[in-house]
Amino acid sequence: MRVAVIGAGVIGLSTAQSIYEQYHSIISPLTIEVYADRFTPLTTSDGAAGFWQPYLYDKGKVQETKWNKETFDYLLSCLSSPESVQMGIFLQSGYNLCTEPATEPSFKDIVLGFRQLTERELQLFPGYNHGWFNTALMVEGKTYLPWLMDWLQKRGVNFHHRKIESFQELVETGADVIINCTGMRSGELQPDPELKPGRGQIIKVDAPWLKHWILTHNFTNGVYNSPYIIPGSRLVTVGGIFQLGDWSENPNYTDHKRIWEAACKLEPSLKHARIVEDWAGLRPVRSKVRLERETIQSGATNVEVIHNYGHGGFGLTIHRGCAQEAARLFGQIVEQKRTGPKARL
């Protein structure tokens, strides 16, 4: 069976991994090819801080919370493996700060040591009067993606540096199943009015004395439009921009100034940090993640497509749960093909 994965961000690569893991000994031959016009370090996943945390509230999307938990548990188990450093996975604790009392987040039972902030801790953050402390995970895209590519390459997965313009194009190469992990640009393959860019801009700085992430939440401004500071293994990501509908991938000075002033107010020691670079990326925002099968008619044939896109600002957070689910959908397709046309009468 030939599987074509479109997209080499964290979603595309991890879905290829899950399919390989679950089916390479069951289906023979199983050929997996990954097509993308952007590879690490140029994908959206690479620019992200790599911090595991879903939005505060899942608003009833319990399936997504389940996938987030599955990802967290998976990454936690990888921590003790000898490859944890090469995977770019490590623990980090920190603060979620609110300007008003708020309901506890959907991830409170997933992370480690979740608790309310003490009075003393709130005094460290003037202007914020409520919040939580917990230990979560970091999974840095710039390290994790190369590790995934290496993992896949070792197992015979081929990579093609080319932009796919249509599903039909892949049918012509002989693909039996297409996995659509095209993130922000899924609309170019199949129009989707629910998919919109959630533009983000960040500043990467050198401030190695910072060891905690600090996320602030302003329920009026909305998610990610409030300053956040997320230390990584080498640099600290400073951000707080979420512009829905803005397609610009270039960082601009107005946003830089806004981010910087807000962050320095939150963490005065940043004044001494060396600014290394600015970056902007488009979060593939959707009302909910599109993770489902679709049979697409392509000329005389039908091709099975599994969509796995629209992960907003939580792609790294949810990737493994979604990849495993996509592999499960793949399994359904395999089963159907096995039992053949007779079963469809």
Partner: protein, 337 residues
């Protein structure tokens, strides 16, 4: 008008903290600091500098609590400000874990650090050999930055620094008050037979992905991520004066730390270091009067902090300042003018 001449002996964290406290609080004193060794060659320089402490048997608990609280509040103030990176003082969170449940689950400092609580079962899963743990946020104070920072502050307050080995108090002519912060050196300087070295060996490794400290409650195995490297250790060898690195000991440290944090085995070693903690049953923070060439000179002692010098420096310095004030109070009038 002759101002009171105070001399502080010792340029480690206790010496400089005490000197700064005196110089800033008593501008009418002229304060000098003398020492043989300065940063980066003091015992304080190699210490990871994590604020937590043991309980001393003979000092009233209230006083020990005050020492810790004053030190912690002083360092926290720096950590939360713009001065943090320059002073080498930062917040650090992590876990202290125990193979056997300790008798004292809530040590005296637990109310002064931030967010102190017991570890959850989920958190303890990562440490299968350990049955109990404490999670909290405390301060890390890196003396390689903090000592030069204190030095600057001391000079700004009018202090004078001189590099000079003091072999006996008798050499300290021309001072009205002597403040002894000579750490392990007090064994010779004031002939304190109760002072003994507690040898500690550590490695500095490169593991920038580590964000939490992990410390075994026995104090012999610990991982302390710092600004530019991670300090792993250690040893507590009482009466051991050896300053050379013991390679076998290093190997064992890496093994023990890797057992707690597997990724340590992937970390490259940047340097190794040995320091002799100034061990004593209790820190000596008290005053006495000595005969120096026909004069009765008050001496304030502030030494013997064992492995908790960084943790208790500021708090004991404030106590020492109080003792210096008492000395000034009792001085004959002409010396104070």
């Amino acid at each position: 008008m002759k101002s009171v001449r105070v001399v502080v002996v010792g340029a480690g964290v206790v010496g400089f903290s005490t000197a700064v406290c005196i110089a800033e609080a008593l501008p009418l004193c002229s304060v000098s600091l003398l020492a043989e060794k300065f940063s980066p060659d003091t015992t304080s320089d190699g210490a990871a500098g994590i604020a937590l402490t043991a309980e001393f048997p003979d000092i009233p608990l209230e006083r020990q609590r005050r020492w810790f609280k004053n030190s912690f509040d002083h360092l926290l103030d720096i950590a939360q400000s713009e001065r943090s990176p320059g002073a080498g003082v930062m917040l650090t969170s992590g876990w202290q874990i125990f193979k056997n449940v300790p008798a004292d689950k809530k040590p005296l400092w637990s109310e002064f650090v931030i967010g102190f609580r017991f570890m959850t079962d989920g958190e303890l899963k990562r440490f299968p050999d350990h049955k109990f743990g404490q999670a909290f946020t405390t301060i890390k104070c890196e003396c390689s930055s903090y000592l030069p920072w204190l030095h600057q502050r001391f000079v700004k307050a009018g202090g004078r620094v001189e590099q000079r080995k003091v072999n006996s108090l008798q050499e300290l002519n021309g001072y009205d008050v002597i403040v002894n912060c000579s750490g392990l050196g007090s064994e010779k300087l004031v002939r304190d037979t109760e002072v003994y070295p507690i040898r500690g060996q550590v490695l500095k490794v490169e593991a920038p992905w580590l964000q939490h400290f992990i410390r075994d409650g026995d104090g012999k195995t610990y991982i302390y991520p710092g600004i530019h490297s991670v300090t792993i250790g250690g040893t507590r060898q009482e009466g051991d004066w050896r300053l050379q690195v013991d390679e076998g000991e290093s190997k064992r440290i890496v093994e023990r730390c890797s057992a707690l944090e597997p990724s340590i085995s992937k970390a490259s070693v940047l340097s190794q270091w040995v320091g002799l903690r100034p061990g004593r049953r209790n820190p000596r923070v008290e005053r006495e009067v000595v005969q120096l060439r026909g004069r009765r000179v008050p001496v304030v002692h502030n030494y013997g902090h064992g492995g908790f010098g960084v943790t208790l420096a500021w708090g004991t310095a404030l106590d020492a300042l109080g003792l210096v004030r008492q000395c000034l109070h009792e001085m004959p009038q002409q010396a104070k003018l």
